[in-house]
Amino acid sequence: MQLPLLFSAKKAHGSSTFAALRCPNGSVFSITFSQARDRGRTSLPTIREAFLQMCNLPVRVVCRANAEYMSPSGKVPFIHVGNQVVSELGPIVQFVKAKGHSLSDGLDEVQKAEMKAYMELVNNMLLTAELYLQWCDDVTVEEITHPRYGSPYPWPLNRILSYQKQWEIRRKMKAIGWAGKSLEQVLEDVDQCCQALSQRLGTQPYFFNKQPTELDALVFGHLFTILTTQLITDELSEKVKNYGNLTAFCRRIEQQYFEGHDKDSSATASARCAKRSLLR
């Protein structure tokens, strides 16, 4: 059930007013991002939006500078519904399910196991590779990540916070054994992951039957971000572009779930300032 967006979010000098949207049953969905659209991990906002769009739930996107602190788990983005705040894809999916919307009800047990396995594969490979590229590749860190991450803050806070984040991410990479990997190895892992996704998708419109599931939202979020985020080199997006069915999949979801809503709302346009459409 689709509802028109009733209010628009206004931006005033770095803070944005928060507009509420109400559905007939009283539940309100709004997603909050950090001010610089892709400060931390770039793909998560798209995943959440995609998932909520697929559930046909009305969504409002808002940018806030202190979003990381508003979130219960410290991770952006998160959703704010009524008086509840839920972050991270897993809990959001369960929350939405508890409200009566679910994308994976039609799957049998074996298919659900497969879906969860593929979601872990994407988290394991694509997410870690994105983090690696953002925080462990020196050129990218210096030219893109530090400026982007520290942009809402004045000097010297911007440098301090981004170095702190970098140190945190590098520690994690070292613990899981990715610190010793070279860029080529990381790109090879991404390629392997995309190959697996491409083989699983085959010629179907979605990963499971003809209906999208959480896995589709997750894959779309990651691939869309990889394809549209401008980095120093295009190697990462080239790896994804090698697989025609994956780019077609992204385009299809973008057309179906995002193009229509962009016309309705001006507010989401402000949140999409850093993104380009795949269709251009």
Binding site: P72, S73, V110, A117, K172, L197, Q199, G202
Partner: protein, 263 residues
């Protein structure tokens, strides 16, 4: 189980437990299993030459004069030598393999690391004595502790963080995830003998590598083992592989040696 089975199991366990850490235990299991599935002749050696061995992670595969040290590379090497257990899999099944391996690493591995290296009773009564008895004296005082700290570090860095604020909460979460993972594996396996039909493949080797230590090692604190024992098809899966593939020792031209990683 017959005496022969028990012997085989004991040898196999002996092998596993002499390796450097839970991570390597898993990979050594699975590499042995994979090699057996693919028919690659290999010898398992537990060479204790830690002072002179190269700075390599275990396990290490030595074939004539080539030394390969990472599990993924070892698997690739065996495949290129035409010992390929996945020959008959379709592309989609190959993709499924990768996905399930990621599931094992993300959901089951933290709990395994915890059971072996962080859970105090287990660590003090089983892991540390076994490990320390296999390495020379000065290292045996330091290395187990280091492995334990690294395991805890890894668990906290990857799974800790808000909204889980204490170690007990993290532990509860990782065991929940591990049990869910075991349930998913059980559903996927169903009643078939192996994950993709009647012949074992890489995925079977990986699952065996992860499950066998949980299934067979006798720890004082065994919540994961108890959960596993309720999933009878997974137990049957492990038993089948143990009886079919680990009864006899094999000799051949590949030497599979385990060295201990340097401090």
């Amino acid at each position: 189980p017959s005496a022969a089975d028990r012997n085989a199991q004991a040898c196999f366990l002996n092998c596993c437990l002499t390796l450097a850490c839970a991570n390597q235990i898993i990979f050594c299991n699975l590499l042995q299993a994979y090699a057996k599935f693919a028919g690659a002749p290999l010898i398992v050696n537990t060479i204790n030459n830690s002072w002179s061995s190269p700075k390599a992670d275990v396990p290490v595969l030595i074939s004539e004069d080539i030394v390969i040290s990472q599990p993924a590379k070892i698997l690739n090497f065996l495949r290129k030598q035409r010992y390929n257990a996945d020959y008959e899999l379709s592309a989609k099944q190959g993709a499924d393999t990768l996905a399930y391996i990621a599931l094992l690493e993300e959901k089951l591995l933290p709990a395994l690391l915890h059971t072996f290296w962080v859970e105090a009773e287990n660590y003090c009564s089983v892991t540390k004595p076994w490990f320390a008895s296999r390495i020379p004296f000065p290292l045996s005082l330091y290395l187990p502790g280091k492995m334990s700290r690294e395991a805890l570090n890894r668990i906290l860095l990857t799974r800790g963080g808000p909204p889980l604020y204490s170690l007990t909460e993290v532990e509860a979460q990782i065991y929940r995830d591990a049990k869910e993972c075991l349930n998913l594996l059980s559903k996927r396996l169903g009643t078939s003998q192996f994950f993709f039909g009647n012949t074992p493949t890489t995925l079977d080797a990986f699952v065996f590598g992860f499950l066998a230590p949980v299934y067979k090692v006798c720890f004082p604190r065994v919540q994961l083992q108890e959960h596993l024992k309720e999933l009878t098809n997974l137990c049957r899966f492990c038993d089948d592989i143990l009886t079919c593939y680990f009864k006899l020792t094999v000799t051949g031209k590949f030497y599979f040696s385990s060295t201990f990683s340097h401090v």
